[in-house]
Subunit: 205 residues, 2 copies
């Protein structure tokens, strides 16, 4: 899908950039190469990952081409409450700045989407793949007791999916985390470390 989009991207053609070429405008983001352990774990993912990497043997993917919807922008409250982690095929990925729970957020880059059903069928399938990908990574990185996955959006209407690693010993257990207690901001180094561990497992764009 991404591969298809790239080959028809007029910006790429007009810049004359090649996958194996240099990075004159600094717009290429480096993928880990070879693809990380979470690319290709399921049949669906390996098909997609294959397409994704096929056009870019050195694992270089232009960030701009991954923006499915150029009119999309992040809701200010999500920007305040969380920190950017990376880009997946459909979604912008963020880490919630709440040291109480390891907590990722997927935000599909589709302007105006409020509900999952505001995405088309292919985007819904991508969303499920990205939920599964980050769920596996978060579970492995945290060795949590339970994952909580939710699209709520009663306060911030922009479609976003929470993936929260829960422990039986955490502050809100067994209640959901939403509205349980004010966020406890991370020490900056601890948040950086959490994000680095996630980035170490996922080939973000």
């Amino acid at each position: 899908m991404i591969g298809g989009r790239l080959t028809s991207d007029p910006n790429r053609s007009s810049l004359g950039l090649l996958p194996s070429g240099p990075d004159p405008v600094g717009e290429w983001l480096v993928h880990r190469q070879p693809p990380g352990p979470y690319i290709g774990r399921t049949q669906l993912e390996s098909k997609r990952a294959g397409r994704r990497y096929a056009s870019f043997p050195r694992g270089l993917v232009p960030f701009s081409s991954r923006m499915a919807d150029s009119t999309w922008s992040l809701h200010p409250q999500l920007e305040r409450d969380s920190v950017a982690v990376g880009e997946l095929s459909l979604s912008h990925v963020r880490a919630m700045n709440d040291a109480s729970y390891p907590w990722l957020i997927l935000v599909p880059r589709h302007a105006g989407a409020v509900e999952i059903i505001d995405l088309d069928g292919e985007q819904q399938a991508d969303l499920m793949d990205e939920i599964a990908l980050l769920s596996r990574v978060l579970k492995d990185v945290t060795a949590c007791d339970k994952l909580n996955v939710a699209a709520i959006g009663n306060v911030v209407p922009q479609l976003h999916v929470h993936i929260v690693a829960r422990r039986r010993s955490d502050a809100a257990w067994p209640r959901p985390v939403w509205g349980a207690a004010p966020a406890q901001a991370y020490e900056p180094a601890a948040l950086d470390q959490f994000i680095a561990r996630i980035r170490g497992e996922v080939a973000f764009g």
Copy 2:
């Protein structure tokens, strides 16, 4: 997928039942025919619905063949708290007996599943399709302000996905419904009416 499963189902062959035949053992459940408005709305669904109905032109699908996992059984707490609505390809569908919110629950019939990532890729895709299907139906039936979709499972570990119709005027808004207040049981007639409206929109197995 269902079509494929049916043609290779030894029970069906050994019973000698044909799609257009009678219902000698009472195990056929009648689908609304033609398929309801929510079958075939998206490309993915219409492909699946096509396959699903192709083998059964009169819309008869044996319930037993839809049980993906014969060792699966419903968790007792889900059984206590909610009422059966119908069967989809992957999931058993229930209505939460809480008059405060129109609230459906999808329970994938896959024994031992706790997390979404305990399902394989195809089951995850089916789950997303079923989430989308019930989301559209619940939104249309209730004209709600927001849908809340969540797989939490901190109390009941059996994998289940909540789809809750929220109104800005409801008891918990804007907080999530889980743990907000004890369930308010429906008047029996009101619960029957809610379930009938859902069944009127979905071709359950």
